[in-house]
Subunit: 158 residues, 2 copies
Amino acid sequence: MTDPARTGPPATDLELASDLVVHAARLVRAVRRTLDLPAGVRLLSILDEHGPLGVSRLAVLDRCSQPTMSAAVAAAADRGWVDKQPNPDDARSSVVTLTRAGRAELARIRRTNGETVAARLAALPQHSRQDVATAVAVLRDLLDISLEPHDLSEGAAR
Amino acid sequence: MTDPARTGPPATDLELASDLVVHAARLVRAVRRTLDLPAGVRLLSILDEHGPLGVSRLAVLDRCSQPTMSAAVAAAADRGWVDKQPNPDDARSSVVTLTRAGRAELARIRRTNGETVAARLAALPQHSRQDVATAVAVLRDLLDISLEPHDLSEGAAR
DNA sequence: CGACATTACATAGGCAACCTATGCATCGCC
DNA sequence: GGCGATGCATAGGTTGCCTATGTAATGTCG
């Protein structure tokens, strides 16, 4: 298994953190190849989590640029997954809402992808369901703190 | 924080597995934006782990197509990170080897990326080092079993 | 109330990473 | 020697994402 020529087994915090990213990248591509992972899924996922939002705020939450999110919203709107209306309180901004069809599409993708991944996880006796939850939590929290600390956190609540 | 309109909090195995992929995708893009994550890193990482290999085998290990790996190898060879020689035992195939410079480059990227990610992880008191190790293991093992079951698993070592 | 910075979004243009399809040379085998 | 299988390269096209920039609406301030 181990090759004597390798630099060293992943042991340090640095290698661990680096490996986290590398393996995440591999997983994403592997999923994109075999399953169905359009970029718009993340948009639907955010709207499902946070409710209606404007484009810029969506971009921040997805850690992408505003033009990228504009395109994603336009594409999703074309397919009827989201509804984009001008904000009545601010003519500059929009309000993007998850439609019923979008919710169904999100559920469909979650189901298909989830089934595959869950099946593979089930074949790994060394990893409990709790381990997967831990992995998800690590990834999520890792991103949360990489945002601007004060402004974007759901301005609706206040 | 929670919005009453949302479909539901991630609870089922399916949603958990799906969220794993979505969050992984977000992390990868977030890292690509701020840090340095050229595609070739994965190639170097594989060579570091497994030692010299041919292009097709590398592609399988990285879960990418063979042409993609051919391009990655060519790019890495241009920069002196790998050495590509014809296989003396089989004129069809090549043997790609990690050079000293490639090893150094891999160490550099692991250091810079690792420092950033590790620093952010350190700012998350709710996640232990063990949690990160768990996350890495889940991602890695998840990919291991998605391969052909018998042939490619470093047939050399055993 | 008019000038000016700020904010929210759209558009233009381009690049990087991948993929499928296909061609070519070699190897294994009968 | 013919023939399928294997290893790799090339061609062509798609997706995803970025920076730079323009435009319109909003807040601010003299």
